[in-house]
C-alpha cells in the first residue's frame, strides 16, 4: 500500500514536470498577439497594432510589411516632443530581443497602412505579410482584425 502511493506520487510529479516543461517550450519562436487595425474612413491611412513576443534565443527583427489590401505599408513610431507630434519611419526595422516582447500600440509603434485598396468594414480580417530577420521562414502572414477608429 505504502509502495503504491509512493509510485502514484512519483507519477503525478513526473506528469506535472512534463506539463511544466511543455508550457515553457513554446511551439513558435515568435508569437503575435492582438493584431488589429483601426478603420479610418475616406481612404486615409490606417494604423496596425500588435504584440510581438520573441520566445527564441536569437534577436528577431521586423524589417518590413506589405499587404494586398494596401498600396504601401510602413513601420512608424509616433514621437511627441514639447507638445509637437510627428512620425518617425523605423528605417532599421524593429528589434525584439530574446525573451522580450515589443508592443505596437497607440501613440507609439504602429504599422502605417496606406492607400487601402478596397472599402473595409469593422470585423473584417486582413492579411499582412510581415518580413523578419532572424526567423525562418522570413515571411509570416498575419491576420489583422479591423476594429473601429475609436478603439484604443
Amino acid at each position: 500500500m505504502k509502495q503504491l502511493s509512493a509510485i502514484a506520487a512519483v507519477v503525478v510529479l513526473l506528469a506535472g514536470a512534463v506539463w511544466w516543461v511543455m508550457q515553457m517550450e513554446p511551439a513558435e519562436p515568435l508569437e503575435i498577439e492582438n493584431a488589429r487595425m483601426r478603420l479610418v474612413p475616406g481612404g486615409a491611412p490606417m494604423a496596425g497594432y500588435m504584440v510581438l513576443r520573441n520566445h527564441s534565443d536569437e534577436l528577431i527583427r521586423l524589417v518590413g510589411a506589405n499587404s494586398d489590401a494596401f498600396g504601401r505599408v510602413m513601420i512608424h513610431r509616433t514621437v511627441v516632443e514639447d507638445g509637437q507630434a510627428r512620425m518617425e519611419h523605423q528605417h532599421g526595422g524593429v528589434t525584439i530581443a530574446p525573451g522580450e516582447a515589443v508592443e505596437f500600440k497607440p501613440r507609439d509603434l504602429h504599422l502605417m497602412l496606406m492607400q487601402p485598396q478596397a472599402e473595409l468594414e469593422v470585423g473584417d480580417t486582413v492579411e499582412v505579410a510581415l518580413t523578419f530577420e532572424g526567423l525562418t521562414p522570413a515571411e509570416r502572414l498575419q491576420a489583422f482584425t479591423v476594429v473601429p477608429v475609436t478603439a484604443q
Binding site: 483601426r38 478603420l39 479610418v40 474612413p41 475616406g42 481612404g43 486615409a44 491611412p45 490606417m46 494604423a47 504601401r72 512608424h76 509616433t78 511627441v80 507638445g83 509637437q84 507630434a85 510627428r86 512620425m87 519611419h89 497607440p106 501613440r107 507609439d108 504602429h110 502605417m112 497602412l113 496606406m114 477608429v149 475609436t150 478603439a151 484604443q152
Partner: protein, 199 residues
C-alpha cells in the same frame, strides 16, 4: 537658536502653502486662461463654406490641429476627446462643439474632412484653410506645424501640435488638454469648465 525658532514657522507656512497649492489645482490639463488671445479665424469648413469663429459663437469648442493622413495619434486623441464629450451630463455635453483643423490642405479637401470627422462624432466640424490662414491661427495659439520632404512615392509626413485647445462660450482660451490624458481626465476637465461657464 533664534534662527531655528524663526525657521520653524517659515517651514510650516511654506508647507501649508505647498499643500493648499496642490489642492487648489483642479485641472488635469493646463489652464491657459488669459495667456492667449480669443478665438479668431478664417477657414473653410467640411462643406466647402468659408467660415469664421462666429460658427461656434455662444458655444464652447474643443479644437485639435491634425491631418487625416495621421493614422496613429490623431484618431487616438480625437477618439478620447469624443468619448470624453459623450460622458458629459446632458445639457453640458450637448453644448460642446468639437473642431478638427487640418494643417494639411494639400491632401485634406472638404470631402475628405467630412468623411473623417463623421467617423468620430456628428458634432465634430472639419476645418482647413490656405497656408496664410492656417499660419495665422496656429501662431495665435503658439503652435507650429511643418511638412517633411516627400519620399519617392510623394508621401510626406506632417508635424503638428498634439494638444486639444478648449475655448469657452465667449471664445476665450481656457484649457490645453494634453494627448497623454485619459478619457476620464479629459471628461473631468470638460465637465468642470462647462459647468463653470454655464453658471
Amino acid at each position: 537658536m533664534t534662527v531655528g525658532r524663526l525657521a520653524i514657522p517659515v517651514v510650516v507656512a511654506a508647507l501649508a502653502l505647498l499643500l493648499s497649492g496642490c489642492g487648489e489645482e483642479p485641472w488635469y490639463g493646463k489652464e491657459i486662461t488669459g495667456l492667449m488671445p480669443e478665438l479668431e479665424f478664417e477657414l473653410t469648413d467640411e462643406s466647402g463654406q468659408s467660415v469664421t469663429e462666429a460658427v461656434f459663437r455662444g458655444r464652447p469648442v474643443a479644437v485639435y490641429f491634425g491631418f487625416t493622413h495621421c493614422p496613429d495619434i490623431c484618431p487616438t486623441t480625437l477618439a478620447r476627446l469624443t468619448a470624453a464629450a459623450r460622458r458629459l451630463p446632458g445639457e453640458l455635453g450637448e453644448d460642446l462643439q468639437l473642431a478638427f483643423v487640418s494643417v494639411d490642405p494639400g491632401r485634406d479637401d472638404p470631402g475628405q474632412l467630412a468623411r473623417y470627422t463623421g467617423a468620430f462624432s456628428e458634432r465634430m466640424l472639419g476645418l482647413t484653410g490656405n497656408q496664410r490662414q492656417l499660419r495665422s491661427l496656429t501662431r495665435r495659439y503658439r503652435v507650429t506645424y511643418g511638412y517633411e520632404e516627400p519620399d519617392e512615392s510623394g508621401d510626406y509626413e506632417v508635424s503638428h501640435s498634439s494638444a486639444v485647445f478648449v475655448f469657452d462660450a465667449r471664445g476665450e482660451p481656457r484649457l490645453m488638454l494634453l494627448d497623454s490624458l485619459s478619457v476620464q481626465e479629459m471628461a473631468h476637465d470638460l465637465e468642470l469648465l462647462l459647468a463653470e461657464s454655464s453658471v
